[in-house]
Symmetry: C2
Subunit: 257 residues, 2 copies
Amino acid sequence: MLSKNQIKSIQSLHQKKFRQQQGAFLVEGAKSVQEVLQSDFDVELVVATEAYYKENGSLTDRQRTPVEIASAAELTRIGTLESNNAALAVVRTKENRPLVAEAGEIALILDDIRDPGNLGTILRIADWYGVRKILCSETTADVYNPKVISASKGSFTRVNWWYGDLTQFLNQQVSAEAGKPVHPLYGAFLNGADVHKMPFGSGGYLVMGNESNGISAAVEQYVTQRVTIPRYGGAESLNVGIATAVLLDNWRRQAPH
Amino acid sequence: MLSKNQIKSIQSLHQKKFRQQQGAFLVEGAKSVQEVLQSDFDVELVVATEAYYKENGSLTDRQRTPVEIASAAELTRIGTLESNNAALAVVRTKENRPLVAEAGEIALILDDIRDPGNLGTILRIADWYGVRKILCSETTADVYNPKVISASKGSFTRVNWWYGDLTQFLNQQVSAEAGKPVHPLYGAFLNGADVHKMPFGSGGYLVMGNESNGISAAVEQYVTQRVTIPRYGGAESLNVGIATAVLLDNWRRQAPH
């Protein structure tokens, strides 16, 4: 049975401040908990219903993860999902390690993506398209937000992220190569080259900007190629998650590996 | 000032049952109300803040739409948005008229898309890709649900929809052409032809299936070509809105008009 302190500690992880203080975050729902138990994340605690534990208990043996049994009502009360009749895990956050795209590798740069749902969707899309590195501005939504983890549908276990000062990172990359951008930096704009017609390099970065304002001026100066999804109808724009998927699809068609 | 009856009537439109009874639905937020006032929809009433009315009042002159002034707090209380400091419109629903893809036209078939957010996103995507006809199974989310209208970001004014029995529709199409499918019917599956490599016809239907179960067996039998977005990483699937965008992008690259 969960102690009062455990409940309090789990509920505090709904908030970023306490996730940072405790160095832990929540993973909720049947599938996501399965995935995190099979990943390289360090799982501190699993709270599961009797039924879920019967079916998935063996997964907790690998790291000898402590398990507490709870009712679906309790799970729902301590978590953030509308309902949870399966499980919840308390997981250690990872160190914020720098990431760089290797030659021939596609990486994502997120410049101020604010909506947790969009960020989670982007993790899932990156995972589908084999993109393993996501560099986020400090203003981008917290990847450990339960909404992000939930929207990623387990993909948070297969992609890596770094949060930091994007212009500083980009500036370092440029200096390292004596003034030349290390990789092509494709930026999503409404007035760039038509991605149905332009050639993509074998690797590099795709920069996606804020939901309302697009890519910031500070990051824009490092963009080597503005790219645009051609429009055939009346909508003014596409959601940033949708645009990320279409752009990566166009890139992968030319650079499958 | 809004009467008690007006408030009651507006609030009842949160529910499908009353939308059907009254033949009306809600459009909420600054941009969506602007768009609906400029569309061919019949707007019964606009409730707006003083500030919104000052800037957009001229739009209500065209059809001599009645306007009531309300505070942002009142607007938020009668509507479904978390906050609304602009306007809300009560709009007549349209007749449920049959739709058929003409030669060389791309149309969408939605087989049991349940999530209103997904449906709204699909309207926006269809609009971006110049798809003007969407045929929906009766089990698909109600297009007049405020969440759908809101997620479509105004695109509901530029696309048309029909709700009905999909198998009956498809069967009629087949019979009309003496046993031959009238158009290619592309269906999104996880084991179809790679859309990066296959040829698309100039027009036809794209069928998208339910979020969990995909295309139903009854509709599947009419699919002439199973199509798949190639996967390069670990995610098991893509969200149905994302998949719709990527598939239409691949089709439009070959059939731009």
